[in-house]
Symmetry: C2
Subunit: 255 residues, 2 copies
């Protein structure tokens, strides 16, 4: 844990300008946008969600929860990056997603977590006890609706990833990965042609269904072709159109 952790503090809503929660918290936490849920909440609801949540910090490379563990909590990521992993008993691993600020973890609301969540960087989350979260959320139709939309979006992303894993080439996979990450960073408000890649090559490989060597070779190839520049802890996109070509099918268009 690098920075001081204020005792349980608010993370329920978009920052009220002059936020005082009456519990001695400053409100840096509130500056993080939580588009998924907190868009349309009433002040009273914010107060209540507030009471349900605790801020937690996790150092890089620690586990927020393990695959198949009882799903006691729901998390909203406010800072950092989390990887969601499924593993086979022999160690083969598939990363099913990288969570960025605003994303929910454990929202499937099943008995047990289907994936493990591991901090890629330092991570800050809002943690909700599941029963309290459920009890609160029940009877808030627009909130339920919001959560459902979030789940639907997740499902849609998962289906895109299935298409990628099942039918795309190594080059298309890496290109799609970079372009998606860029889009997501932009949505989090960190738009830039330089994409931070805090995760390891092994993580990228396990996300794309490739090996570390193939990821490395493909990135090198893109760099040779002047489509990207590899920088410390990231990549600078030079010719997005060119990357898109790798991503999209270069259709054969007969006759």
């Amino acid at each position: 844990m690098t920075f001081a952790e204020p005792s349980p503090t608010s993370c329920a809503g978009p920052a009220p300008r002059d936020c005082k929660h009456g519990r001695g918290n400053d409100c840096d936490d509130c500056k993080v946008r939580r588009f998924s849920v907190c868009g349309a909440l009433e002040p009273a609801e914010l107060e209540e969600l507030d009471r349900l949540s605790q801020v937690r910090n996790f150092p890089a490379r620690t586990m927020l929860f393990d695959q198949d563990a009882p799903a006691d909590n729901v998390f909203n990521l406010t800072d950092g990056m989390v990887r969601l992993c499924k593993s086979l008993p022999d160690g083969r691993r598939q990363i099913v997603g990288f969570a960025l600020p605003g994303d929910f973890l454990g929202l499937a609301l099943m008995e047990r977590y289907g994936v493990a969540a591991e901090a890629v960087t330092q991570v800050r989350v809002c943690r909700f006890a599941r029963p309290a979260f459920l009890a609160y959320v029940d009877g808030k139709p627009h909130l339920l609706r919001r959560l459902h939309e979030f789940a639907g979006h997740e499902l849609s992303l998962a289906q895109d990833q299935m298409l990628l894993l099942g039918r795309k080439t190594a080059e298309e996979k890496v290109a799609a990965f970079l372009l998606n990450l860029q889009t997501r960073y932009a949505r989090v408000g960190a738009a830039s042609v330089t994409i931070p890649l805090p995760m390891s090559r092994q993580d990228i490989a396990d996300y794309l269904g490739l090996t570390i060597e193939t990821v490395s070779r493909t990135l090198t190839k893109f760099a040779r072709e002047k489509v990207i520049v590899i920088v410390p802890d990231g990549v600078r996109l030079l010719m997005i159109g060119r990357l898109d070509q790798s991503d999209a099918a270069r259709s054969a268009v007969p006759f």
Copy 2:
């Protein structure tokens, strides 16, 4: 279609014993279990859901809705099998799931369908107009909750499939496919060691991220090993344990 089809008829709930919908419908439809939603509905709610839904039939190999089309309807499959496909412009295709009776289609509730839904067999569905469905469902917390759980379950299945697509061998993929199908048929009440495979080899290949030839060879191999018997339109499982071995990782367990 095996049994007579009455004109537009109810499909909103688990069969009330002496079902009369007041619209001249007999209730064979209601015998189909819809565990996902209809488990805990009030009679009044059933009536209303009833009014919102229409029964539709689709012949085999027809499309219920197309990828990227406006998501005007929500469907509940009551009979038959539907494949959910995503395609790349050059024709590469990934089947992201096969729907069986009880499953919902278009529940992500987004503007447009992310996948195409195509009837594998003759299909019967309950169709809901999306706005009506949403309006009805809003303010029914337990129903929303149910739908959310369904979406969560879908997501979990999608993640399992990602692990399969990204990290399993052809043999493991085919074995997992057969075992999953068996489990699902059992849940639909059609338990048997003989698994119907109404979909084509190409469908199976596109579901597992393989080619038709590899699917065929792998099934032949299992048959040679006396783990399955290939029968017309299906497969009979002989040694489920053996299949499970192919499916699960045969862990190397060092020292």
